[in-house]
């Protein structure tokens, strides 16, 4: 896999992962072009398109498009499976994931992706193992109030911090 992009129906990029070295300028150009192409397609169309010398596989989940670019010999259907598997992982981790979860916890979305794919290849096909690894790593992490701050104001946050220390 060459790269994976997540973007909203409005064309806003939500996540990008590049497995090939490209300059920022190229990345931006590719992103813009691809987002436009994919958004222009009608809902009933198939999930594959040929783009430059790559094959693009995309799928829409609610308001988010998941879009992967693969090489000529790669298998489109397994790529679709990868996308689906990633969505399942996000869903398990966040508990019925929505676009906002990915926006506000975008680093988590990356961590999950990194446990699932490495260098563009699937590294772990078992969902359980991936989630276990993420949980373990999260345990190591200093408790950070990222979920709390979504709902509470800074005063509450301060109290919580003081209590922790």
């Amino acid at each position: 896999m060459q790269f994976m992009l997540l973007f909203s129906r409005q064309g806003k990029l939500r996540l990008q992962k590049w497995y090939v070295p490209l300059s920022d300028k190229e990345k931006k150009k590719i992103t813009r072009e691809l987002v436009q192409t994919v958004l222009a397609r009608k809902p009933k169309m198939c999930s594959f398109l040929e783009w430059r010398d790559l094959k693009v596989v995309y799928k829409r989940y609610a308001s988010l498009y998941f879009c992967c670019a693969i090489e000529e010999q790669d298998n489109e259907l397994i790529t679709l499976e990868i996308i689906h598997r990633y969505v399942e992982l996000l869903d398990k981790y966040f508990g019925s994931v929505c676009e906002l979860d990915i926006i506000f916890n975008f680093e988590k979305a990356y961590f999950i992706l990194d446990e699932f794919l490495l260098g563009g290849e699937a590294q772990e096909t078992s969902k359980k193992t991936v989630l276990k690894a993420i949980e373990q790593a999260d345990l190591l992490q200093e408790v950070r109030p990222h979920v709390v701050t979504l709902h509470f104001n800074s005063a509450l946050f301060l109290i919580r911090l003081l209590r922790l220390n």
């Binding site: 990029l13 939500r14 996540l15 990008q16 992962k17 590049w18 497995y19 070295p21 490209l22 300059s23 920022d24 931006k28 009608k42 009933k44 169309m45 198939c46 999930s47 594959f48 398109l49 010999q73 298998n75 489109e76 259907l77 397994i78 679709l80 499976e81 926006i103 506000f104 975008f106 680093e107 990356y110 961590f111 990194d114 446990e115 490495l118 260098g119 290849e121 699937a122 590294q123 772990e124 096909t125 078992s126 193992t129 690894a133 373990q136 790593a137 190591l140 992490q141 200093e142 950070r144 990222h146 701050t149 979504l150 800074s154 946050f157 301060l158 911090l161 003081l162 220390n165």
Partner: protein, 1062 residues
């Protein structure tokens, strides 16, 4: 301590964290850029603090901003700082930021090597994991080289979590640092049998990717993979293994045989479409490979075929599936089969035609692609009919345009191979012109022209159709949207004009072409209208003069005179020019008509002769006629100085004739006839010369009478003039009937034959469904091959070469316009050769001789090291020289420029042939590395004609005009070395002297005052040469300056030479 932490936390409280940033951006939709720029300022402040938590927070925000497209490369060092934090929380963020923001040219990557090495060996597996993940994104060749060993060690880590990641990242390392592959490979192979399935699948992944790049190194692993394939149940792994085998089988056909069974089993048993698709794809890809390089025993071949059929069956199931994705992939795989086994696909025509109705455009386009390869003579009409229906239904111009081009592609492929009835094709084209808003008018037009020109039998029909189109031109021009389609009128007007003899009612067409509305068409179409109106006019005159009634002809002229002024006023120059030219002509004709003079014959002669299609590369293959030197100047180069113009004869008097022009004047009638004969013979022998068929030429040249115009009877059972009504369907029916008839006739013949033979077997072949060959086209395409066969050329050449070698004996002869040469002081190794120049004498000639005059050596300004030598070849014998080769032995300092791919000793073949007693010139290019020495080029190969090329330094000089002030500046600059020479006993006027220097040594006069002149020239490598020439009596003194003393010395010597001759 606790207080300090609390204080730090309170500080942090006032910072924005990532969530605040995101929320802020969402709340500032109107002035996002402004908001973000203040955020970036805050982040810069935060990065200056010592607190790593604050820094990590800032870096995290930057990572988010980077995704939004902001440049964060300035924070690269801070990212490294956060990466090297000892706390996993921050390290994780640091590595994430690095993997998103770093790329190969990020310079701080060099600083990370030790940090990454430390993290890789961390006791905490998640530290290691995070480092490996990050590395996979930003690994550079340097990092790969430095860390390859560490990662290799990790491949045998106790934890599968690490092993898995290490194995996968090795692939990236191999790509960046290929030397690491060899030492790491044994361990990688070991991992194929790792107890952990995750590690195993990672190893399969890596080896599969490696094998796709270079399969032959991985053949030895085949048995291991075979075992894995039969034992594994993990579809992800299976897909990779099958892909790997797909790469290996072309190298080892026996593998294919072994794979048949497991693959067939998988195809039958799997429920995973992705796996099925992979299997089918591999079988398809392997099928033609298995078939071709080695012949399997019959049973195996049958088995392979069955397996292949199974795949095609499975693909059919995919295409029939309601899932768009499967449908698309099925069609994609079908198109792969189509290339090798068109027959297998053709049987699924029904299914593919169904896909044309699919609501998904990408599926329809795939199906269209397939159709291209599926047509045959038998089904073309049916398929196109179906496509035409789609054209009518299609919404959206892009898809319709795509359909249109496909229809034309399908029909015109391989020289209209599948078209049996061109009337049908023309009517299809006419129907296509009714498309709303297509961009492809020009495509339709070029098809119309092509068919009308090449299929002679169709012209009558085509002309009738085109006349209808012209009559209804308003349908095309009326709508602004239909701009593209009016290109068709270009073709229509041209066809009606060129083949006007076939027109039913030429008067009506002429009127249609001269309607005022025409003036709204694009200029180039109007121009064609005007020109072809003139052709029509000529035909009309001819018809009308045949009648006794003269008024009709005069009325026609009047019509032209009335209507043409409209075009004379056109803003388009070409229209204007043609119209005014033709208008004058018609006026003149009218005058003659009033005097009762018959003019039709003469008018028609204007357009006599058939225009034949010319192959695009034909011009190149026509030999350059003798005596025509495309590279030679027709006039002298314009930079000659004025003094030369005064008495040019005196200067050239002692010169050899420069070109063959002088010779031509002496040629008498006899000579001319002889040459003409020779040329004819040459053309007859030349396979690339397009010969006009003598009959057609004669028809037009001798008698442009009516009886010579081929009249083709057409069956008018078809209503020709129903505009706006599609007719192509009728042809489908007609064609069916025609074929039916043919079939019946054939059967009759066959029966007869059988009767005659009285073959006792009595078995009746049922002719059943007709085969491709049975269908004979109703019209023949006049095949003017677009590409002339290249192989013919080479074979003929060889023969001729042998012949020539027998006949020919060479003679050495050379003429040079600068014959004399003194050894230059700095001549070096060249001067040794120089000595031989004058001593060579012409040798006796036995059978034939060829002479060879070196005429001109010129530097090439575009390329400072290139010299162009024009050579005139003259054939002095009675034999025809078919091929000649020209070769110069490369010396230390010069090299013949040969076409790419030829060896250093190959000659250049001379691109023309020499009939007896003719001459022709060619050019060759030499690369010269150092130009300050004169040199001789020596060629003495085989028994061929040897010659010497003498390069004087003057030939490297290029006449360059120079203004006197620039000249003065140049002299003042002081970079130039001085030298001078005195010439005694020069007995010629000063301006002759200057002209001579200009001519022979490529100088230009800068200024002349009485008996004193300054001159300038420049070498091809940019050396300036300045001369100050003074004369008093018979003594000429030349003071010279140049930035290269050796060059100057040699040039002066050469000037001396020139004058010592006179």
């Amino acid at each position: 301590m606790a207080l300090k932490i609390v204080k730090g936390s309170i500080d942090r409280m006032f910072d924005k964290n990532l969530q605040d940033l995101v929320r802020g951006i969402r709340n500032h939709k109107e002035d996002e850029a402004k908001y973000i720029s203040t955020c970036i300022d805050e982040i810069k402040q935060e990065l200056k603090q010592d607190n790593i938590a604050v820094k990590a927070n800032a870096v995290c925000k930057l990572t988010y901003l980077q995704m939004l497209g902001y440049d964060v490369s300035w924070a690269a060092f801070n990212i490294v700082e956060v990466m090297s934090s000892s706390k996993f929380t921050y390290k994780r963020i640091g590595y994430l930021a690095a993997s998103q923001c770093f790329h190969e040219s990020t310079d701080v990557i060099m600083l990370t090597t030790n940090q990454i090495r430390k993290d890789l060996s961390s006791p905490n597996q998640y530290d290691t994991g995070v480092a490996l993940t990050g590395l996979s994104c930003f690994v550079t060749p340097d990092l790969a080289r430095d860390l390859a060993n560490d990662i290799m060690t990790l491949m045998s880590h106790t934890k599968p979590y690490i092993r898995k990641k290490a194995v996968l990242i090795m692939y990236k390392v191999f790509l960046k640092y290929p030397e690491s592959l060899r030492p790491a490979f044994p361990r990688l192979k070991e991992k194929l049998e790792d107890p952990d399935p995750g590690v195993q699948s990672a190893a399969v992944n890596v080896i599969c990717e490696l094998a796709r790049r270079n399969p032959k190194n991985y053949l030895s692993l085949a048995p291991l993979f075979f075992k894995l394939m039969t034992s594994s149940t993990n579809n992800w792994v299976l897909i990779k293994i099958i892909k790997l085998f797909g790469a290996l089988t072309p190298l080892e056909p026996r593998l294919g045989k072994k794979l048949i069974e497991p693959l067939t089993n998988l195809i039958h048993s799997t429920s995973a479409m992705s796996l099925l698709y992979e299997c089918v794809n591999t079988v398809i890809a392997g099928h033609d490979v298995n078939g071709s390089p080695f012949l399997p025993p019959f049973s195996l071949a049958l088995f392979l075929f069955l397996r292949f059929q199974l795949c095609v069956q499975k693909l059919r199931i995919l295409i029939e599936d309601s899932d768009q994705n499967l449908k698309y992939l099925g069609l994609l795989a079908m198109s792969k089969i189509l290339k090798t086994h068109p027959k297998s696909v053709q049987s699924h025509k029904d299914l593919i035609l169904q896909c044309l109705d699919d609501k998904d455009e990408s599926i329809r386009l795939r199906a269209l692609d397939l159709l291209y390869g599926m047509v045959s003579k038998k089904n073309l009409m049916e398929i196109v009919k179906k496509l035409m229906l789609h054209v009518d239904k299609a919404e959206g111009t892009t898809y319709r345009d795509e359909l249109l081009t496909k229809i034309i592609d399908i029909c015109s492929q391989s020289n209209y191979q599948y078209i049996t009835n061109f009337e049908w094709y023309i009517s299809i084209l006419v129907e296509l012109t009714r498309l709303e808003g297509t961009r492809h008018g020009h495509l339709i037009a070029s098809q119309m022209l092509d068919v009308a020109i090449r299929v002679k039998a169709i012209r009558v029909f085509a002309v009738a159709q085109m006349a209808t189109l012209l009559d209804n031109a308003h349908l095309m021009t009326g709508n602004v949207q239909r701009k593209g389609i009016c290109e068709v009128l270009y073709a229509a007007a041209w066809i009606c004009g060129e083949f006007s003899e076939h027109l039913e009612n030429p008067m009506q067409t002429l009127e249609a072409m001269l309607r005022p509305k025409v003036a709204t068409l694009p200029g180039h179409i109007q121009a064609v209208y005007v020109q072809n109106a003139a052709k029509l006019f000529a035909t009309l005159l001819k018809n009308q003069e045949g009648n006794t009634d003269r008024t009709a002809a005069q009325e026609t002229s009047q019509l032209m005179i009335d209507r043409l002024p409209l075009f004379v006023q056109s803003a388009n120059l070409e229209v204007q020019e043609r119209a005014s030219c033709i208008l004058q002509l018609v006026k003149y004709i009218q005058k003659l008509q009033q005097k009762d003079v018959e003019v039709a014959e003469e008018v028609i002669a204007l357009f006599a002769g058939e225009l034949n299609p010319v192959a695009p590369k034909a011009q190149k293959k026509v030999p350059v006629p003798e005596g025509l030197d495309l590279d030679a100047w027709i006039n002298e180069p314009p930079s000659e100085s004025e003094s030369e113009d005064e008495q040019p004869k005196a200067i050239f008097a002692k010169e050899e004739p420069k070109h063959s022009r002088a010779r031509h004047t002496e040629v008498d009638e006899k000579e001319l006839a002889k040459r003409r004969e020779a040329r004819k013979q040459e053309q007859a022998n030349n396979p690339f010369y397009i010969k006009a068929s003598p009959s057609s030429q004669k028809v037009y040249q001798e008698a442009p009478g009516v009886e010579h115009i081929p009249v083709v009877q057409i069956d008018l059972s078809v209503p020709l003039k129903v505009p706006g009504l599609p007719m192509s369907d009728q042809y489908v029916k007609l064609e069916e009937e025609r074929r039916q008839k043919e079939r019946v006739e054939k059967k009759k013949k066959e029966k007869k034959k059988r009767k005659e033979k009285r073959g006792g077997r009595g078995k009746k072949h049922d002719s059943g469904p007709e085969s491709e060959e049975d269908i004979t086209p109703a019209h023949m395409v006049d095949i003017v091959t677009e590409e002339m066969p290249e192989d013919k050329k080479s074979s003929k050449h060889k023969k001729k070469k042998q012949k020539r070698e027998k006949e020919e004996k060479e003679k050495k002869k050379k003429k040079k316009h600068h014959h004399h040469h003194h050894h230059s002081d700095g001549g070096g190794e060249e001067s040794v050769q120089n000595g031989t120049v004058e001593e060579e004498e012409p040798l006796p000639v036995s059978v034939c001789h060829q002479s060879f005059t070196e005429i001109d050596i010129q530097g090439n300004l575009q390329d400072g090291s290139q010299v162009v030598v024009s050579v005139i070849f003259e054939n002095k014998c009675d034999n025809f020289l078919k091929t000649m080769e020209f070769n110069v032995l490369d010396s230390l300092n010069s090299k013949l420029q040969r076409p790419e791919g030829s060896g250093p000793h190959d000659g250049l073949s001379v691109p023309f042939q020499l009939p007896p007693e003719t001459r022709s010139s060619g050019t060759l290019r030499l690369s010269v590395f150092v130009i300050v020495f004169p040199q001789n080029e020596d060629s003495s190969t085989h028994e061929k004609l040897d010659f010497k090329l003498h390069f004087t330094c003057s030939s490297y000089l290029i006449t360059t005009p120079c203004y006197s002030d620039a000249f003065a500046k140049l002299l003042e600059s002081g970079d130039l070395k001085c030298s001078s020479v005195r010439l005694e006993g020069v007995n010629m006027p000063f301006h002759h002297l200057l002209a001579r220097i200009c001519f022979h040594h490529h100088f230009s006069v800068v200024e002349r005052i009485d008996s004193c002149a300054s001159m300038y020239s420049r070498s091809i490598q940019g050396h300036h040469v300045c001369l100050l020439v003074k004369t008093s009596g018979q003594t000429v003194s030349i003071d010279a300056k140049c930035d290269e003393p050796t060059l100057l010395g040699n040039v002066l010597d050469e000037i001396k030479q020139t004058f010592s001759q006179c």
